[in-house]
């Protein structure tokens, strides 16, 4: 009999008592592992993509979340990677309309900028933009000057990325751009001290203090437990790869780039209420993360802090803002735009929590499939 296997676990659902009992039978620092999400809120799961697997679960989506090898001789610039991506998208337009999810933030604004730069008006007729009012408040000039005159606009507030929508469109979002740079809670560090991220990574005590500052509400013992564990597993993984990790910035980048990437790609599936296997396959085929390319990843691996962050409050993703500025000539955006909370919270959506995805793309829930989950989960754990 063919044994199914789990490809991916929604780790926010590791709360059922029977599952917890099973996990506790393994000798592992589960408390610290569960606390990982404090370093990257909004992410449900962590999986290693490269190097030593220092986390308890096996990444069954390695092909889907592929990371290229470190090749220092590759010199593709961020702009070139963007232009290459745009050319790839152009080939899709002839087969199906495209819906771009615009949040008003830097990443999705860059997508539309690239399209405006490379697509003629007639080539853009099959491209629609989905946004909500908060997107407009985040970048009103771009909306009124560049989006409204050039694209059909849909209200994204009530959009659900389900099979019906994916059948109609290729859908493009601005992920995983954050993971190419320094993402998660670390994005808040520049608000207190922009220069600290340039500190050499061998200053371990200082790095641990910075990590603890990202857990302000936890008791000291929990901070110590989590940070010491996290630092150790990160260094174990870093030492198993040849990617240069030189500064605190690189440390935070590598954590997100290596361990959060997979979850970011799957994240939008959480809004789906349908659990049929075709829905997952359709999602993987037609939901396109703009920044998920070999060229962007090579650029990210080969670029250190100087090329990604200029150590000011508005200095993260400065290379992306430059790309936008070269088209819009909007100096305010280039100089003053910094990270705002994602507009994803604007949408009130029904979240149908599923526990895991199997290799036949069915999804299991705790309420309906607990026995099967308990049967399959051990093969997904590698401690």
């Amino acid at each position: 009999m063919f044994m199914k296997k789990i490809l991916y676990v929604n780790q926010q659902e590791l709360t059922n008592p029977a599952i917890i009992d099973m996990l506790l039978s393994y000798n592992y620092n589960w408390k610290a592992f569960i606390n990982l999400h404090k370093f990257n809120t909004g992410v449900d799961s962590h999986y290693v993509r490269a190097g030593k697997n220092v986390l308890p679960f096996v990444n069954g989506l390695e092909d889907y979340s592929y990371m290229p090898m470190y090749q220092p001789n590759i010199t593709t610039t961020f702009e070139e990677a963007t232009d290459i991506r745009c050319a790839q998208i152009k080939s899709l337009i002839s087969t199906s309309p495209v819906l771009i999810l615009w949040s008003g933030g830097i990443d999705s604004t860059l997508i539309i900028t690239s399209i405006l730069k490379h697509f003629s008006p007639s080539e853009r007729t099959n491209i629609h933009i989905a946004c909500n009012r908060v997107s407009i408040y985040e970048y009103p000039e771009f909306y009124f000057k560049h989006i409204l005159p050039n694209f059909k606009v849909l209200d994204s507030t009530w959009i659900v990325v389900d099979s019906k929508l994916l059948s109609k469109y290729y859908i493009i979002d601005g992920e995983p751009a954050d993971q190419l740079f320094c993402a998660g809670a670390a994005q808040t560090i520049p608000f207190t001290d922009p220069t600290i991220l340039a500190t050499p990574v061998n200053q371990s005590q200082k790095l641990k203090e910075v990590l603890k500052s990202l857990m302000p509400n936890e008791p000291q013992w929990e901070k110590d437990l989590t940070v010491n564990w996290f630092y150790q597993i990160m260094m174990d993984n870093i030492q198993s790869v040849d990617v240069p990790i030189e500064t605190f910035y690189d440390f935070f980048w590598w954590y997100s780039f290596n361990m959060v990437w997979t979850s970011i790609k799957i994240r939008t599936l959480a809004s789906q209420c349908e659990f049929n296997p075709d829905a997952v396959q359709l999602y993987m085929n037609k939901f396109i993360h703009w920044f998920d390319t070999e060229e962007y990843q090579q650029w990210s691996i080969n670029t250190r802090i100087d090329g990604k962050f200029n150590q000011t409050l508005s200095g993260n993703k400065v290379i992306a803002k430059k790309y936008i500025y070269d088209y819009t000539q909007d100096n305010y955006y280039y100089r003053c735009k910094f990270k705002h909370l994602s507009t994803g919270h604007v949408k009130e959506k029904f979240v149908a929590p599923w526990f895991c995805i199997l290799d036949d793309y069915t999804r299991l829930t705790i309420s309906d499939n607990l026995d099967e989950i308990l049967n399959l989960l051990p093969a997904h754990i590698k401690i």
Binding site: V134, Y137, E138, P140, E141, F144, Q187, T188, F191, T192, T312, L313, S314, N331, Y332, Y334, R335, C336, K337, F338, K339, H340, L341
Partner: protein, 214 residues
């Protein structure tokens, strides 16, 4: 430590601007508000009216985030020797600026209390935007916002209740086919120009063309 130099006229051109105001409260114990500018780490503009401060912050958000702060709470705030005005405010920052939740500031902007006024670094002169021009723009916006609020709230008229209630009532959608209020529409047009326009002369010209007497 009080430093007289920080209170000299930094930009004399500012005071010659017809829209300029010092942003001082009407009496020493009255509140004074400062728009803290995170990217430049300084106070961009000071003013005496909280409602105007919030509207100004919202209008300026099309360019950059500012945070509405109450200056009087600063330990070293003293209306006789230590008070900021719009000639000197960019020389100052807040000692507790790290407590201001900047990542959420675009969506929610509760009043922040300044703990201590401290001398700002030179950062705001090196961020690639002209702070003097931004202050002039803020003064221009403040001028019009004050006049709008004065029109709305100072004398008996029907505009202020229409402005408040129709904001949520949306009476046209309830079947009442109202003739548009010319004055209210003009007020909304002015605010929209202030929010979307980047060129001072263009904004001034468009607002003057509306011909609204406030």
């Amino acid at each position: 430590m009080f430093n007289e130099k920080l209170f000299t006229y930094k930009y004399s051109a500012m005071t010659e601007n017809q829209y300029f105001n010092y942003g001082l409260p009407d009496h020493p114990r009255a509140p004074q508000y400062g728009l803290y500018f995170p990217v430049g780490d300084c106070f961009l503009f000071v003013l005496k009216d909280q409602r105007v401060a919030y509207t100004l912050s919202a209008i300026l958000s099309s360019r950059y985030v500012t945070i509405v702060t109450l200056l009087n709470t600063a330990d070293n705030y003293d209306p006789t020797t230590m008070m900021l005005d719009n000639n000197s405010c960019t020389n100052w920052t807040a000692s507790n600026k790290n407590e201001f939740n900047t990542i959420m500031a675009l969506y929610t902007n509760p009043l922040r209390y300044v703990k201590e006024l401290v001398v700002a670094s030179d950062l705001h002169n090196n961020i690639g935007i002209n702070m003097q021009q931004e202050q002039q723009w803020a003064a221009f916006c403040c001028y019009w916002i004050e006049r709008i609020y004065h029109q709305l709230y100072s004398s008996p008229n029907f505009i202020d209740i229409d402005y408040e209630l129709n904001n949520f009532l949306q009476i046209d959608g309830l079947g009442y086919q109202a003739r548009p209020s010319l004055k209210l529409d003009s007020i909304r047009q002015i605010l929209k120009i202030l929010y979307l326009e980047k060129d001072f002369k263009q904004a001034e010209s468009q607002i003057n063309a509306i011909g609204l007497c406030l």
